[in-house]
């Protein structure tokens, strides 16, 4: 009986892990929206939301509840199925990204060694790329299904922007891969933790910069938020949406932001590594908790930078954006890759 | 899993592609069906590659057999990409002239 061979414990373990990670990231995302408004307020020297709960801490829940309670409107001229599929796809894709991120090494509970990573697959980075590209479909389908000129325009912009920057993103990653020699995120993080190695940011400052810019663009964050440029396209690709479907689009953006921060942390900043701390000397469970905390801190820093940029830097024009993507980022990434390869080969003395 | 499953799956995908090419009238859908055919082949090649590799490492653990199958997949992907770009360009060009992607009108060439 094959059924008997199933490791039921493993199954339950993964289920719990998935539930925790998904809800945690949703929660963080929820509070990121709050943080965004607060950060904006701070940068603009005003109090920000402060009515709901202490310091306005319940504000995100109020927002969420409002979105759920709103009326569903599907325009007459739209394509009904695609109209619903669009946000659903965007949200699902956003939630899928976290599957390969190593939140920390492992904990030992009930005598089991539990990896704090949903799936350690050897092509983790490719997986992230794949899932992120599916997110583009969400935007494109939503814009197309609305059958609204503004939406379609915004969706087109969004899609062309996303794919343009994906190129540079892919290229900038290759240098990191050369250093680590693996596509598995876990391996990459462990390498940075290993004694005698520094974080990849030390070897790859240019690579990080490129990746960071691309991440901004992929998340449609300012200064790359052309798909939702309010003052020219009304409200962007999701202007026909209401209620939870709109919520998904907004939410997906924040989840994406968190996930790209996590990826950046893993690739360039040692993931759950705490600098100058020898994790192996600690008890595994404590090390794991410290690791999660470290990663969260890194994520929060990145998210803050995202917001900081949003409220500081004006939006690009479409042609500036594409020129930057194609004519600056791509060649720079190529050069970075070649130089990295040459230096590594030279140092290896082959 | 036995190799037959992969073969059946791939043949099913391939047949769907062929039937789509032969019956559909929308150039883009025909085009997508062709891509489906190519991807069915990719899948099959990888499956075969794995099969041959499995058979070879049973004899010689260091064997590299099967690599060429996966290599081929790479080439198919490249060529498919090239075809996609050329095909898209042609369809766009046609669309700008006729405002239609229906291939029924291609019969006009007959006379």
């Amino acid at each position: 009986m094959t059924l008997l061979a199933i490791d039921w414990a493993l199954l339950i373990e993964k289920l719990v892990l998935i539930a925790v990670i998904v809800f945690a990231s949703l929660g963080i995302a929820l509070y990121t929206t709050f943080a965004e408004r607060k950060v904006a307020a701070i940068l603009q020297d005003r109090p920000g939301p402060n009515r709901a709960g202490p310091f306005g801490l319940l504000q995100p829940f109020a927002d969420g509840l409002k979105l759920i309670m709103k009326e569903e409107i599907i325009p007459n001229t739209s394509n009904k199925i695609l109209f619903i599929l669009g946000p659903a796809l965007a949200m699902t894709a956003a939630l899928m990204t976290c599957a390969v991120i190593p939140w920390s090494s492992h904990v030992e509970l009930f005598g089991r060694k539990i990896d704090l990573q949903v799936a350690d697959i050897n092509i983790g980075i490719l997986y992230i790329f794949g899932v992120v590209s599916i997110g583009v479909y969400g935007i494109m389908i939503g814009g197309w299904a609305s059958n609204n000129k503004f939406s379609l325009m915004a969706a087109l912009r969004g899609a062309s922007q996303a794919i343009s920057y994906e190129l540079a993103m892919g290229l900038s990653l290759i240098a990191v891969l050369m250093i680590s020699g693996s596509l598995s995120l876990k391996t990459i993080v462990e390498q940075q933790m290993a004694p005698g190695h520094f974080w990849n940011i030390v070897y790859q400052p240019l690579g990080f910069l490129l990746f960071f810019v691309c991440a901004l663009a992929e998340c449609n964050r300012t200064p790359f938020d052309l798909p939702e440029a309010e003052n020219e396209l009304n409200f962007g690709y999701h202007q026909e949406y209401s209620s939870m479907k709109l919520g998904f689009y907004l939410f997906a953006e924040y989840v994406n932001m968190i996930m790209s921060s996590a990826v950046m942390a893993c690739l360039f900043f040692g993931g759950y590594d705490v600098p100058f701390l020898d994790e192996s000397a600690l008890a595994p469970n404590i090390a794991a908790i410290i690791g999660v905390a470290a990663l969260l801190v890194k994520i929060i820093i990145f998210v803050f930078i995202f917001m900081w940029i949003r409220w500081t830097i004006p939006r690009f024009r479409y042609d500036q954006l594409m020129n930057l993507g194609w004519k600056t980022m791509v060649p720079l990434a190529l050069v970075n890759m070649l130089v990295t390869a040459a230096v590594i080969l030279w140092r290896a003395g082959v | 899993m036995p190799i037959q499953y992969y073969i059946y799956l791939c043949l099913a995908l391939f047949s769907i592609g062929i039937i789509g090419v032969l019956t559909r009238r929308n150039a883009i859908i025909v085009f997508m069906c062709i891509e489906l055919m190519l991807n069915a082949v990719n899948l099959l090649l990888v499956a075969f590659s794995k099969m041959h590799h499995g058979a070879a490492i049973a004899v010689n653990p260091a064997s590299q057999t099967g690599v060429e199958g996966q290599l081929f997949v790479f080439f198919i992907m490249v060529v498919a990409a090239a075809e996609v770009s050329v095909g898209l360009a042609i369809i766009v060009m046609l669309f700008r002239n006729t405002h239609s992607v229906d291939i029924n009108f291609l019969n006009r060439l007959k006379n």
Binding site: T2, M244 | V78
Partner: protein, 133 residues
């Protein structure tokens, strides 16, 4: 129930079993999304009027279908992306094993990059990447 045996050989790092959690997560995420849409559908008010169901164009009456031929540039970006992305794909396997290939592999990749750049320069020179009209 043959597929379940996937769960049993989770030992290998490179086996289909590693992907099973992803499948579970997919079900989980999709289920979550579906539930939320269903809930909001169920909870929200339903008072539809003709005005509400029209497409929104800042209050102006909208004319015609939105799905009209659009600027060729967008297609161009798509086509170029497909081409260059596939070229980028080739760097990944190289990046993983480039140490074993050594300088010979590096020179081969240099040639590949040269072709990449030639194509790149060509499209720039031909004005495919000229966005401002």
């Amino acid at each position: 129930m043959n597929w379940l045996f996937l769960l049993s050989d989770a030992g290998h790092s490179n086996s289909a079993a590693n992907y099973l959690p992803i499948g579970i997560q997919l079900i989980f995420a999709a289920g979550f999304v579906a539930t939320m849409i269903g809930v909001s559908q169920w909870v929200g008010p339903k008072r539809k009027t003709a005005d509400k169901l029209e497409t929104f164009a800042s209050g102006i009456e909208s004319h015609g279908d939105a799905r009209q031929p659009m600027a060729i540039k967008y297609f161009l970006v798509a086509i170029l992306f497909v081409l260059f992305d596939v070229e980028v794909i080739f760097f990944y396997p190289y990046a993983v094993i480039f140490k074993e290939l050594g300088w010979a592999g590096f020179s081969a990749v240099l040639m590949f990059v040269a072709f990449f750049i030639v194509g790149f320069i060509y499209i720039i020179k031909r004005g495919a990447l000229k966005w401002e009209d």
